[in-house]
């Protein structure tokens, strides 16, 4: 089965307030889907619907061919979860923790190999309470993997981790990708999604604002570069504007315009300058990072915090 998750028109309300306004997407076998959004965008609501924790109000949802709202035990044998907030009991060792969870599943993986996969072999006999924040989070991933799931849900696996622990988590997730795991990953870091995900969905205020690979997002998503140059002698702003097909803005002694197709616009600009024998000075192209694109895109949702749903 190529399509592991299939969501069509998913709606979810808490009381009067609708949080997800009919979103649709798919997760394919063997890919890491990055589900990106600010706090309150509806990421956790979505992942909890997929995990079978939340009923939903409209649309169709299928995970491994099953509606999660009718989760069965055999279906739970096939999925792996890493919740956003879960504090594993500090009195047990790493090995004991993974071992007890392994017993819940019909076809668990090897406990030592799973601990190895998350890079905790050296800590296997340590108590959970002695682990660092990043190590605890990776143990949490081991617990999510020990049932040998066909899809792993990772809800903000690096939130609250220091940069080094974050890098270690990334390395570990890259290892899972190499092993062919299908992963649904939520995050509010664009660089994380860009680094780990095969495809990215940007969620804003309960709607999908954009979707695609990181490159596609860069290309399509108002990846508007700003071109600026000095309004030097001979530069006829109106003529240039006519040539480009849009008006130029001015700030101080410089003029600028935004461009979706930088190559074409620069060609037009340079051709004009050559034809009119004008020397362009201080010509600059500033391209926004994907992070800026995300902030611009997701920023509109600010001030609409999502309630802790139940």
């Amino acid at each position: 089965m190529d399509c592991v998750v299939s969501v069509e028109g998913l709606r979810k309300s808490y009381g009067e307030r609708e949080r997800l306004h009919g979103i649709s997407f798919e997760v394919h076998a063997g890919e890491i889907l990055g589900f990106l959004g600010t706090n309150g965008a509806g990421k956790t609501t979505t992942i909890e619907v997929l995990e079978g924790y939340r009923p939903y109000n409209g649309g169709t949802v299928s995970v491994l061919g099953v509606d999660p709202a009718r989760a069965t035990r055999s279906w739970r044998n096939r999925i792996g979860l890493v919740l956003q907030e879960c504090e594993l009991d500090p009195v047990y060792t790493v090995r004991e923790t993974v071992s007890i969870f392994a017993r819940y599943f019909r076809h668990p993986t090897n406990v030592e190999a799973t601990i190895e996969a998350v890079g905790l072999s050296a800590k296997i006999h340590d108590r959970v309470g002695q682990l660092s924040g990043g190590q605890k989070r990776r143990l949490d991933v081991a617990v999510g993997l020990v049932g040998d799931p066909e899809i792993l849900f990772l809800d903000e696996p690096t939130t609250g981790l220091d940069p080094l622990a974050r890098r270690e988590m990334w390395t570990m997730i890259e290892g899972l990708r190499a092993a062919g795991k299908t992963i649904f990953l939520t995050t509010h870091y664009m660089d994380e999604a860009q680094h780990l995900a095969d495809r990215i969905i940007i969620l804003r205020a309960g709607q999908i604002a954009a979707a695609g690979t990181a490159d596609e997002l860069s290309a399509t998503l108002g990846y508007r570069a700003t071109v600026s140059l000095d309004a030097g002698p001979g530069l006829d702003v109106d003529q240039v504007g006519t040539a480009l097909g849009r008006a130029l803005g001015a700030s101080g002694s410089a003029v600028h315009f935004t461009s979706q197709d930088v190559q074409a616009d620069l060609t037009t600009l340079l051709d004009w300058a050559r034809d009119h024998d004008v020397q362009l000075t201080n010509l600059q192209v500033v391209q926004p990072s994907l992070d800026e694109v995300f902030v611009r895109l997701a920023g509109d949702a600010a001030g609409e915090p999502e309630e802790a749903g139940r």
Binding site: Y53, R73, L83, F101, R103
Partner: protein, 263 residues
């Protein structure tokens, strides 16, 4: 692996965790022994029970055992389950193929084992230091009341987890409820010196029935202490607790204390 063997494995796992938790051990194992020694150091001699003169140390052995049953099955269970819920552990368990009953079985199984072990220690202390004599009647009464007590107080604890938004709240409510009921039920103060209205009030609650039943088993020669009134008083609370627990129990964090934050 069958579900029953999974349930037993989960129970062993819970017991191992209990043995590694110094505060739980101190509170449920050491504290009652200390209480027994302290009460008997203060009130030695005799008191009156059911119109006859009885040894105070035997009275307190029975009383502290009833208190211990409530401490483990109510206070400690309340704290443990609330803590696990607020940690997000119960939610995580629910996301695995483990059946829900396995978790509840393991917690109540752990409770029963801890109660049995600590009650055995308290009986041994009574036998060694306070002239408590073991008889078949006494053992029959003890077993009956341990089982009834664990059932009643565990059911109430599971229902009351719903009122505890945080582990801190559970840590306050659990011991407080046990201590107040202990005063109302003639556990700490002999019934002979308690005001009648207070005994009447205590009779509404299950600890009074557990304490009275156990005191009869320990103090009345040839009696198991098992009475219909006392058993019914506990089972009624237990059944009510069970019904409430089925309706009220939550597997997901209730929230305010947990680092819940963003979604």
């Amino acid at each position: 692996m069958s579900d029953l063997s999974l349930a037993l494995a989960q129970t062993r796992f819970a017991l191992r965790g209990y043995l590694r938790n110094p505060s739980a051990l101190g509170f449920t194992a050491l504290f009652p022994i200390l209480l027994l020694l302290l009460f008997n150091a203060i009130f030695h001699g005799v008191t009156v029970f059911n119109g006859t003169s009885v040894r105070a140390p035997a009275y307190y052995t029975a009383s502290i055992i009833s208190y211990e049953i409530m401490l483990v099955s109510f206070s400690s269970l309340l704290v443990r389950v609330t803590t696990n819920r607020e940690r997000g552990l119960l939610k995580r368990f629910r996301g695995t193929p483990m059946p829900s009953w396995v978790y509840l079985f393991s917690e109540i199984g752990r409770t029963l084992v801890v109660v049995a072990a600590t009650v055995a220690v308290l009986v041994a202390v009574g036998a060694i230091f306070y002239h408590v004599t073991l008889s078949a009647h006494l053992v029959a009464g003890l077993v009956t009341y341990v089982v009834a007590g664990v059932f009643c107080f565990s059911a109430l604890a599971l229902a009351l987890t719903r009122l505890c938004q945080t582990a801190d709240a559970a840590s306050a409510i659990g011991p407080l409820a046990a201590t107040i009921l202990a005063f109302l039920s003639g556990v700490f103060i002999p019934v002979a010196v308690m005001p009648a209205w207070m005994l009447d009030l205590g009779r509404v609650f299950p600890l009074e029935h557990l304490a009275r039943g156990l005191q009869s088993a320990f103090l009345v020669p040839g009696s198991t202490g098992i009475t219909g009134v006392d058993l019914a008083g506990m089972l009624a609370w237990g059944v009510a607790g069970l019904i409430a627990a089925v309706r009220l129990f939550r597997w997901e964090p209730l929230g305010t204390g947990a680092p819940r934050a963003q979604r």
